[in-house]
């Protein structure tokens, strides 16, 4: 997948999990990689950039295992940004589905239509 495009989507995913609750870095990575094929080296830079832009704040909290963990907390600025991104995404992905699903979703059906069209074009030449 195009790297820039993927980055935008992961950004929305990171924002989405942090809307729900404060989390530490490793947990965020786990939450995302459970569902999509993505690893730390994509998620962490995004987390860091969004923090720099004041969409998240961080604080330290002791864990049961001992050493403190850095938690990320969404700010109001982050929430507003999330809402905007979410809206853009819904509009975009909605449009994309309209386009790719015109005339049905079934692969066989799509193949059949495409085949007839190709043969028609060839015959016309």
């Amino acid at each position: 997948m195009n790297a820039q495009f993927k980055r935008g989507i992961i950004e929305l995913c990171v924002l989405s999990v942090l809307v729900e609750k404060d989390m530490y870095g490793y947990l965020i990575i786990n939450q995302l990689s459970d569902f999509i094929d993505v690893n730390e080296n994509t998620i962490y830079p995004i987390l860091r950039r969004l923090t720099k832009e004041d969409y998240f704040e961080t604080y330290l909290e002791e864990s049961n295992e001992g050493a403190p963990r850095k938690y990320y907390k969404m700010t109001e600025k982050g929430f507003i940004y999330y809402l905007r991104l979410r809206e853009e995404w819904d509009a975009f992905i909605g449009g994309v589905y309209q386009i790719i699903n015109q005339g049905g979703k079934k692969n066989e059906e799509i193949f059949r239509r495409f085949k007839t069209r190709i043969t028609e074009t060839k015959a016309n030449k």
Binding site: Y26, E40, N41, K52, S63, K70
Partner: protein
């Protein structure tokens, strides 16, 4: 884990991130990997989850491309003057005594001047004429105690983002001055005891005179840098000087961290230069007892052009 963190540190240094950033990133990764281990992940699983240090370092460097220094908040300040700028370049001439000042960018095409503090702002001369912005503290004859440090002013001057600053002259006695995110062709700063912070600037010619003010320059690009100080110290962190760097110092030290330049010329009485990841092409040292110490990880050739010193040394290692 150790190996991963070591590799990561090396990759981050290659990407020329600042030391502060590198330490933060390493600490974050240490924590994340430790958590993964606590959850019982095997080394192989951790490797898969974290990927290549090189990749994360590159992404982080990309992040930095358009990052700018966080601007001063002007919510609590009084907006004093605005001037519409019609041309695509301007010059700035500021003369202050003890007022602190921050220069930064505004998104509009106006110069905006904010202030806070109790001193009488109307006594200041301020104007924008013929493409020149001027701000001067009231002239004081002899001693005047009405300006105690307690009710001093602080200014924030915002310059339009898309206008080139041809020349910026900044003269002060004891003001602390901060320059953020500016692009200046010709920057001239004179300070007696005021400190100076320059962050995320692009400067073509930079001439800095300081008596006892300390100066810190970070994340900036400079073409020619001429530094002259008496007892103030100067620190450069993550600065690219594409031309020559001349430093004149009596007893002030110069600390360089992640800096490159062409010719480095140092004139000192007793001030030292300490460079970490400092890569000049050539070094000239003229001193009584001042040393030049350079510690670099990468062994690049540095030519020693001339060394005339009584007891000073050039150590490159």
């Amino acid at each position: 884990m150790k190996k991963y963190l070591e590799d990561l540190r090396q990759e981050l240094q290659k990407q020329k991130l600042t030391n502060k950033e590198i330490e933060e990133i390493i600490a974050d990764h240490e924590e994340m990997i430790r958590t993964a281990m606590e959850e019982g992940l095997s080394e192989e699983q951790i490797k898969a989850k974290f990927g290549q240090p090189k990749q994360v370092a590159e992404e982080l460097a990309d992040n930095n491309e358009d990052v700018v220094a966080e601007q001063d908040d002007n919510d609590d300040l009084v907006l004093w003057k605005t001037y519409q700028v019609e041309h695509d370049s301007l010059s700035v001439d500021v003369n202050l005594i003890s007022e602190d000042i921050t220069y930064q960018l505004s998104d509009s095409s106006e110069i905006k001047v904010y202030y806070e503090g109790k001193a009488k702002v109307e006594k200041y001369e301020i104007s924008y004429e013929k493409n020149e912005f001027r701000l001067s503290a009231p002239k004081r004859l002899g001693f005047n105690f009405s300006f105690g440090k307690g009710d001093d002013l602080r200014f924030v001057v915002e310059l339009p983002k898309h206008v080139v600053v041809k020349e910026l002259k900044h003269v002060t006695i004891s003001s602390d001055s901060t320059f953020k995110n500016l692009k200046v062709n010709d920057l001239k700063v004179n300070t007696t005891s005021g400190d100076l912070v320059i962050t995320h600037n692009q400067i073509e010619k930079f001439k800095l005179n300081s008596v006892s003010g300390d100066c810190s320059i970070e994340d900036s690009k400079i073409v020619e840098f001429n530094l002259s100080q008496v007892s103030g110290d100067t620190e450069l962190d993550h600065v690219t000087i594409s031309g020559n760097f001349k430093a004149n110092t009596v007893s002030g030290d110069v600390e360089l961290n992640d800096v490159t330049c062409e010719d480095f010329e140092m004139h000192a009485v007793s001030g030292d230069v300490d460079g970490k990841e400092f890569y000049p092409k050539k070094v000239t040292l003229k001193s009584v007892s001042g040393d030049v110490n350079i510690k670099n990880q990468e062994k690049r050739y540095i030519e020693i052009v001339k060394k005339s010193t009584l007891s000073g040394e050039i150590n490159i290692g």
